[in-house]
Amino acid sequence: MTRPAGIGGRLAAAARWLLAKALGAAFVLWAVTTLIFFGIRMIPGDPAEAILGGPGSQASAEALAQVRAEYGLDQPLVVQYFAQLGRLVQGDLGNSYSLRMPVSSLLGEQLPATLTLALLSLVLAWVVALGLATWSTLSGRSASLVSSGLEIVGAAVPHFWLASVLILLFSINLGWLPPVNTGSAEGLILPVVTLALPLAGFLGQVMRESMLTATTSPFALSARARSETEGGVLFRHSLRHAAIPGIALSGWAFGSLISGAVVVETIFARPGLGRTLLNAVTLRDIPLVTGVALVSALAYVLVMALSDLAERIADPRVRGS
């Protein structure tokens, strides 16, 4: 039996939790920065050349030397590393080599598009997963088999294949939806579906399992013995039990959506972090790559903290421990 903590105790626990999360986030951001800083320098090629327009630009030796001095690339690596850390701590992400703009303003332009895509996909994935779980719980064994099959196929299908099939079907054959971004809400449908279905497959599997366990559990039997209806058992008991593993997975899922966005944004020619990252890597635009990675890591850390918080709210057993 646990003693219920007073308000003071609960506040202190919340403060400890926040502090732990903040320290963890700081560590993750530092690790991401460091890995990218050293990792990107292992790729063959000269950043100075990249700044001057790539190997095709035939830049003169003087021009290269001038650029190196300007960007501090002639300094020892460790000096460059700490200089970059110092700038990052002040919130300065530097200028993009290829686009000659502050990275922060580039990210500011691209981030909303990717966040919209990822969040809409997450919502759709939840709706589909819960729908399948509820349907198979209420409609018995054959529904359960069908859902399970759909989930496995969904979880196994790669984004690029799914995108191609959806474009073929809905854009080329039926002509209902645009195959590439048009800036309209319609243009969002296919990318969101492409990202959401594989995730729905994953989420659906765990949700269906725990919903089924909840509906056949002794507490559901007890509820029926108190004259609860099947709908009541579902809404008052099973749904919550099904949501808990889904919530726990959602932080991870959001991360996978952001990486999935690289592919989907490219295929559907949408603006966003994913496409920006792809271009930046191709052009060896170190500040931009670092910026995109840091923003994605920050988003991931925040979403993980949110899903942790949501899980604590939904599941009192987690709170207790």
Partner: protein, 578 residues
């Protein structure tokens, strides 16, 4: 043979045969078998099947208001299915038929789902075994109890809240307002079970079905919950009690129906069924109850043991010259918790002698298992030490200990969770002997056969996985595994607690035989006083991490000195045979 329930043990001098259910007003009730017309519940020819053949066959009984009928039998005998059929909860695939099934004059036959919902909670309350899983762990106890009121009454939210608190008080909760806001995981086993009962009686149903309501509980808590059920019955509620525990049944039921293989094989007043059983199955069930049977007598009627040689006589117990094999001196163990360190074991000393059994009793949380872990060298004591055959055992490095680990084996309560589910029985047993070395297939098979034979199992089960064994078979394999490295000492932690009484009897008999055959020493841990008494030469009673009393078995059970021991003995329901 007379059987009766006694609250206390008076020193092994039975007071004689009693024909009735007892003479104690609080514990007995005169009414004889209820005839059909004044019965609260009448069931006639109930048959329930799930596709292949019926699992409940032609079951008939009746219960009057204020009377308790106990349905006893082992797992799979059809008790629970019978109970669920009475509430229309046997499941969608169940085929339920009956000549008559009526509650208070209203027929329960062929109700539609809506009508069944009308019966549930209002006319029949239902209490399941383990409240930890029978109450939704995500919802507060208050909301669970409120459900019935919300669904079936027109009370306002405030009135319902008041009624929930009243119910919690009625079932004996200390602080209803606090408890209503807690979830099942935050409550102790006894409080949880009370909350579940409160949710079942929220609408004052005239009939309460309790399916193994006290099985997961300690003796003291069990006694309290039984008292609560008893008081509900006293207030006029009809009670259908489902239990495999004859001691519990003898305590509160006026009528008993014994089920075996889906049929009621014998029924009548408790005193006559348990006191003068007519059916073989009932006799076997009674014989299997360990309390009251002296150390060394067989509990199971049919021996599954395959050895045909005569049992060697037990070493003379009571002598103090036996060699000490395991000595624990001033053991202490603390665990850190959020509320500061928790002392699980506090200054515990005992000595286990060669060929003897030391019983360790106490309620859950008293530190028994922590002591076992230290004895096995799996936990390091914070203070004190353990010596194995006179040599240091606790304070040495794991490398030194590993060499001597074969000397001491262990059998746990739940073998299913202590087996790798992907291994076959043969792999489990070979793994225990080989300890990492490769063993040739021939030698492996021979060793497996020898071990299985030793515990009375056919060699044909060697290829099966643990999931495909019955509970009794699993525990036999666990014993074979413990004995595979040829230990001298076996630590048995609740080895028979999850088993039906007749299977428990077989396992206890087997342990007893093996002890005689191989001169084993047992550290035998159980919360079941009857089992401990049957198995032990010496007994140590633990309470909150300390051994409060330690003496030879007879003395503990016939002349307990410590108040806690007396309390434990008093709380544990027991069948006394004379």
């Amino acid at each position: 043979m007379g059987v009766f329930w006694r609250k206390n043990d008076d020193g092994g001098h039975p007071q004689g045969v009693r024909p009735g259910a007892g003479d104690d007003g609080a514990l007995s009730e005169p009414p004889a078998i209820t005839s059909g017309h004044n019965a609260l519940l009448r069931v006639d020819g109930l048959t329930v099947g799930f596709g292949a053949g019926p699992v409940v066959k032609d079951v008939s009984f009746s219960i009057a208001a204020g009377q308790c009928l106990a349905l006893v039998g082992e797992s799979g005998s059809g008790k629970s299915v019978t109970a669920r059929a009475l509430m229309g909860l046997a499941g969608e695939s169940a085929h339920v038929s009956a000549d008559a099934m009526a509650l208070g004059g209203r027929s329960l036959k062929d109700l539609n789902p809506r009508q069944w919902r009308g019966v549930r909670g209002k006319d029949i309350g239902f209490v399941l075994q383990d409240a930890l899983v029978s109450l939704d762990p995500l919802r507060t106890v208050g909301r669970e109890i409120d459900d019935a009121l919300r669904l079936r009454t027109n009370l306002s939210r405030n009135d319902r809240q008041a009624r929930v608190l009243e119910l919690l008080r009625d079932v004996g909760m200390d602080d209803p307002v606090l408890r209503a806001g807690q979830r099942s995981g935050e409550l102790s086993g006894g409080l949880r079970q009370r909350a579940l009962i409160a949710s079942a009686i929220a609408l004052n149903p005239p009939l309460l079905i309790a399916d193994e309501p006290t099985t997961a509980l300690d003796a003291t808590i069990q006694a309290q919950v039984l008292e609560l059920l008893e008081s509900l019955r006293g207030a006029g509620t009809g009670l259908l009690l489902i239990s495999h525990d004859l001691a519990v049944v003898s305590r509160i039921a006026q009528q008993v129906a014994v089920m075996n293989g889906g049929r009621i094989v014998e029924q009548g007043p408790t005193a006559s069924v348990l006191g003068d059983p007519q059916h073989d199955y009932t006799k076997r069930l009674l014989q299997a109850v360990p309390s009251g049977h002296p150390r060394g007598t067989r509990l199971s009627a049919e021996s599954l043991h395959v050895h045909d040689r005569a049992d060697p006589p037990r070493a003379d117990s009571g002598g103090s010259d036996a060699e000490p094999v395991l000595e624990a001196t001033n053991l202490s163990k603390r665990f850190p918790t959020s509320n500061g360190p928790f002392t699980a074991v506090d200054d515990v000393s005992f000595t286990l002698s060669a060929g003897r059994t030391l019983g360790l009793v106490g309620e859950s949380g008293s530190g028994k298992t922590t002591v076992a872990r230290m004895a096995l060298g799996l936990a390091v004591p914070d203070a004190g030490d353990v010596r194995l055959f006179g040599e240091p055992w606790s304070g040495i490095s794991e490398k030194e200990r590993r060499r001597r680990r074969p000397l001491i084996g262990a059998v746990y309560q739940d073998p299913l969770s202590s087996f790798d589910p992907r291994m076959t029985v043969e792999q489990i047993l070979t793994d225990a002997v080989s300890r990492g070395r490769t063993v040739r297939a021939g030698a492996r098979r021979a060793e497996t056969a020898r071990l299985l034979d030793m515990v009375g199992l056919p060699v044909t089960i060697a290829a099966r996985g643990p999931r495909n064994l019955s509970g009794g078979q699993r525990q036999r394999v666990a014993i074979a595994r413990a004995l595979a490295p040829e230990p001298r000492i076996v630590v048995c932690d609740e080895p028979a607690s999850s088993l039906d009484v007749s299977i428990q009897a077989q396992v206890l008999d087997l342990l007893d035989e093996l002890q005689r055959e191989f001169g084993l020493s047992y550290l035998f841990i159980s919360h079941d006083l009857g089992v401990v008494r049957h198995m032990s030469d010496h007994v140590a009673v633990m309470q909150r991490g300390r051994i409060v009393e330690q003496a030879n078995s007879e003395q503990i059970f016939t002349a307990p000195e410590h108040p806690y021991t007396q309390h434990l003995l008093e709380a544990s329901p027991r069948l006394e045979t004379s």
